[in-house]
Symmetry: D3
Subunit: 128 residues, 6 copies
Amino acid sequence: MSTASNRLTRALSLLDDLEPGAPQRVKANLDTFHADTAELVLGYAFADVVGRDGIDLKTREMMTVAMLAAMGTAQGQLEFHMRAAMNTGVNREEIVEIVLQVSVYAGVPACMNAITAAKKAFEAAEKG
Amino acid sequence: MSTASNRLTRALSLLDDLEPGAPQRVKANLDTFHADTAELVLGYAFADVVGRDGIDLKTREMMTVAMLAAMGTAQGQLEFHMRAAMNTGVNREEIVEIVLQVSVYAGVPACMNAITAAKKAFEAAEKG
Amino acid sequence: MSTASNRLTRALSLLDDLEPGAPQRVKANLDTFHADTAELVLGYAFADVVGRDGIDLKTREMMTVAMLAAMGTAQGQLEFHMRAAMNTGVNREEIVEIVLQVSVYAGVPACMNAITAAKKAFEAAEKG
Amino acid sequence: MSTASNRLTRALSLLDDLEPGAPQRVKANLDTFHADTAELVLGYAFADVVGRDGIDLKTREMMTVAMLAAMGTAQGQLEFHMRAAMNTGVNREEIVEIVLQVSVYAGVPACMNAITAAKKAFEAAEKG
Amino acid sequence: MSTASNRLTRALSLLDDLEPGAPQRVKANLDTFHADTAELVLGYAFADVVGRDGIDLKTREMMTVAMLAAMGTAQGQLEFHMRAAMNTGVNREEIVEIVLQVSVYAGVPACMNAITAAKKAFEAAEKG
Amino acid sequence: MSTASNRLTRALSLLDDLEPGAPQRVKANLDTFHADTAELVLGYAFADVVGRDGIDLKTREMMTVAMLAAMGTAQGQLEFHMRAAMNTGVNREEIVEIVLQVSVYAGVPACMNAITAAKKAFEAAEKG
């Protein structure tokens, strides 16, 4: 197996930890765009960076949720990472605290949009 | 003592945990702007929100650093929170990981600016 | 009545000035997220800050519309504040001028998104 | 014919190069907002600036797509300019390269949103 | 005199209302970049848009200050428009209120950067 | 030679095309931060993405300049890429056109900051 495909395999494995079943959906979406994208972009994001040691995956997802909520430019991915955060062990109380902290650093509208995303993740978690 | 001043007292106490000596400097800066600002803004940020239970201060600072680096609009405060993160127990390896993760969610220029801020915090930590 | 609930009461009262009926809807939305959020976030936004003297509510809403349109990260709240601006006395001509001014400071796409929000507010105002 | 209407005429002509049929739709949308907007905003964007010599229209659209994707605040207009880019001669391979480059300078979420927009433009191009 | 130079003349006249002496400085800066820029960019900003009727210049400057502070990407121009706001009749109390309102919609770091800019404008106003 | 070091070698080679001498300076800066960063971040940016075929380097730099100017969060890197653009064949007239186009999509303040960066690049080019 080539280095490139190992990198993609590791990326998809981490993505499966974030949301079981996501790798197939995300890879299919990227493959219909262009053949190299999954290896390149997911490989960088998840194999090269997020999969590194030094910070546990739960804490990394807390930071990712905080960043996406603060930036306010990727609501769909914020919803995904709200679910992923809960899948990696972030509980409801912690989601609430992240969302409130967003209001301090990025303002109340960013916080309100994060609340909308969080409520969807709570519902998804309840459905199991 | 009034509720308002209690709120400010609690905010300044947390700010002192972030960087010893910061409360005097920050409060003096705000007081020369307007009398209500320290109580209002620091009170909201640190007493109402960041001082809440549910997430420990070290993890909160990791998220704050990530958010400020991702937003890219407050380099001075990013430098402050890099130092504050280290003061609350974030080590150099963790700072490196946060900064690399910023490149995934906010791009390489945001990561590069965060590296500049991190290196200043490393130097400050070495000087003690 | 506690200070906290007074703060929330004042916040909801101002929110009712922005859009009659909004307090119930907004508070219910926040309460299903977490019990403290309405008091904390609305309290800061509307009781602590926007409800202050020094600038009248109409002018404050003009600035809020301009900020949300320029930031471009909260289209739903931009629509709300377009309606709120009109409810506090901003007329159609003034909305047009704000939207054009956004094009200067934040670019034409931000202006175009603000036009979309403004047209919805105009329609809502006509239905009355 | 007045200078003003010449400016609008030139703007609408360029807009027709970006997407045949767009001038009528865009102008009608703006005219229901306010009578001056089309001349003012489209006139500035397309007659005063984008219609200038010095860079060909295809390269200008590549930059516009890159900017809108990097800013992440105008997904609808990003979709329009993805189509416009292809209408001015940008091919699928080039769209892919722009989108990947966005990931470097604005992060992976911005890239993912650009992929969504690009796929819609690819579909539109296939339908002809 | 051509239409174009009339447009620039009107733009520079408004710029002089924002800060006496600014037209010469700003125009010289732009002219060393490229001959068309002053007419094109200042003409659009000040003659085409900000100079329009419908909202008085003082209120327009309040919105400009709010937008620039909320966006957080042009600290130098925020400082200019803080001074311009005061030159068009915005008083210190109003500046304080704008800055606090920024914290609600764009977060505390944006507010803190606006305080820095405001304090420079206060000092400039005291020096006369 | 390992795959990783090949990736870094290719990245530094492209960086040398952007600005002769930059690889040593940039790599030294990153190495004092953390040993993996140059390979990881420069490798992704320049070997994995910007070094790809499909769009020539000159056009890529035009897009990078446009993106950085529009985002407005990395003035130092905007200055670098203004110089890099000129080093890869973008002439002064084209820089002017990019900067004016930024005003349409990101507003006049972003354009003004880009003018400041461009003028520094023009001066550097004159010094040779």
